[in-house]
């Protein structure tokens, strides 16, 4: 059973590896929407950014996991069971036809687990996408306006200006925010436990405790404190390593930019 504990560390790393790019994608789409000149689209983007700020992220996590699950089942229900005439919400129950159940009740155990896992990742991406959208939106606004005006003077269309001038330059402005976000994402991974994923928190509780649902013998005393101390150190190591890595990335991106960081680099190399 202990190897499941070690495997759960890989699970956390896997989630980080998947969520970060997906959330960045959501964020980019959100920031583009917020910049849009079409009012409904811009409201959508701004609303997406604004709502996450006012509400605790954990509430979002718990909301989306159920909401997404019901949303998927509802869509499948509408598509697969057209002859169903009863309402889906009956009092306190949410009833869809057998074929629309997700995952199907006949499917094996691992499908159930993977489905839960996927839901958790989508939820994470939606919430962190909103954070990323805010950061990228700020980064886009921080690009000196003269750059965009110059592009327009050269006869570039709005789309060309966006992709060729704005996007390549915004990263250096967005990076401090994004690296902050990466730290938050790392520190949010234990919350997966609340979404029903059997992650390191789950196994630390199970293995550290004296008597649990899975182990009825008493292999040792209450070691949960030590297990959690270990997790604490694990996370400290992760954040420290990320800090060092991001600093290096920032140096690289600042190269040749018209910012004080870029200026500092130029002086270093010429001196």
């Amino acid at each position: 059973m202990h190897w499941l504990f070690y495997a759960s560390f890989l699970k956390v790393l896997f989630i980080l590896a998947v969520t970060a790019p997906v959330a960045l994608g959501f964020g980019f789409a959100g920031a583009m929407a917020a910049r849009s000149h079409i009012p409904p689209l811009s409201w959508l983007g701004k609303g997406y950014i604004a709502i996450v700020r006012g509400v605790p992220d954990i509430a979002f996590f718990m909301f989306f996991v159920i909401a997404l699950d019901q949303g998927f089942e509802w869509i499948r229900h509408k598509v697969l069971c057209t002859d169903w005439d009863q309402p889906i919400r009956q009092g306190n129950d949410f009833i869809v036809c057998q074929a629309a159940k997700l995952p199907l009740s006949t499917s094996p155990e691992w499908v159930h687990e993977t489905y839960g896992f996927a839901l958790a990742i989508i939820t994470f991406s939606i919430v962190f996408g909103a954070f990323a959208a805010n950061v990228l939106f700020g980064g886009m606004r921080a690009v000196p306006h003269a750059q965009l005006e110059t592009a327009a003077a050269y006869g570039m269309s709005r789309r060309q200006t966006f992709w060729r001038i704005l996007v390549p330059q915004m990263w250096v402005y967005a990076l401090p925010g994004l690296s902050n976000l990466w730290m938050i994402l790392i520190k949010a991974t234990p919350l997966l436990f609340l979404l029903g994923v059997e992650d390191i928190v789950y196994w630390a509780r199970e293995l550290g405790g004296t008597k649990t649902s899975k182990f009825t013998q008493y292999p040792h005393g209450d070691w949960r404190m030590w297990y959690f101390l270990f997790l604490l150190i694990f996370y400290l190591g992760m954040t420290r390593m990320s800090e060092i890595g991001l600093e290096k990335l920032m140096r690289r991106l600042s190269h040749g930019q018209a910012t004080s960081g870029g200026e500092l680099l130029r002086k270093e190399t010429t001196a």
Partner: protein, 268 residues
Amino acid sequence: MSCLQTIQDYALRSLGFGERLLPRSDFTLCEQFTLIGSGMIWNVYFGVLALATGFLLATALAVGKASPNKWLRKPAEWFIFLFRGSPLFIQFFFAYFLFLSLKKSYPMFDAFTSAWLGALIVLFLNTAAYSGEIFYGALRSIPKGDIEAADAYGLSGWARFRRIVWPTMLRLAWPAYTNEAIFLFHATTLVFFSAFPAWQQRGDALYYASYFADKTFNPFIPYPILAFYFILLTLVVVGGFGLVNKRLNRHLPAERKAKMRFRVNLAR
């Protein structure tokens, strides 16, 4: 049962007053609003007390981290790194089990295993570390001229700190500190979802919201109610901190008064 009756029964449920049993079926909108609002008492309690106590420690930490003395600087640096580098969720778990095992040897730690004290201590240390880092950043960006002027006026030591350095530090740090306060209030929702038990179902707002979501299998009512309460709380925090900001900046000419910018730091 009328809504007024429900409010009487459940408004202080999270503190243990009123009706003992939670509603079990046929949940009305009023019940959900009342109970989730009742849970907000705990969120406000944790947030306000942790902020108030954390503020003092944060100032000490910032001064310690900026100190030239190694024996003051290193502990402050390590403290800030420890609490900013690890997830709050794990800190809650660790603290709970730490207090639990301390309780076995020393019965006086009994109170620490309950949320009202144990979780408060964790939140206090956590927010002290985050605000300490904010204050440290502000301390380093105090204009050199201000300090030189203070020296020229013959202020030094405590008087200089009290009259020049500290107010300027607060003024510079205030927008970021407002953000931290908002996120601290959000973090209070984690308390009853980590190891700390909600004794007799006296939980915070999220605890009740998830109770309703579990029972009704309908997340679309309790969570928006929770969101409503938290947006309200956020507005109150922003308003309150805005007033303090106004006072901190009252000596500046009107056009230089920095408008509070909430856009930049969305997350801590």
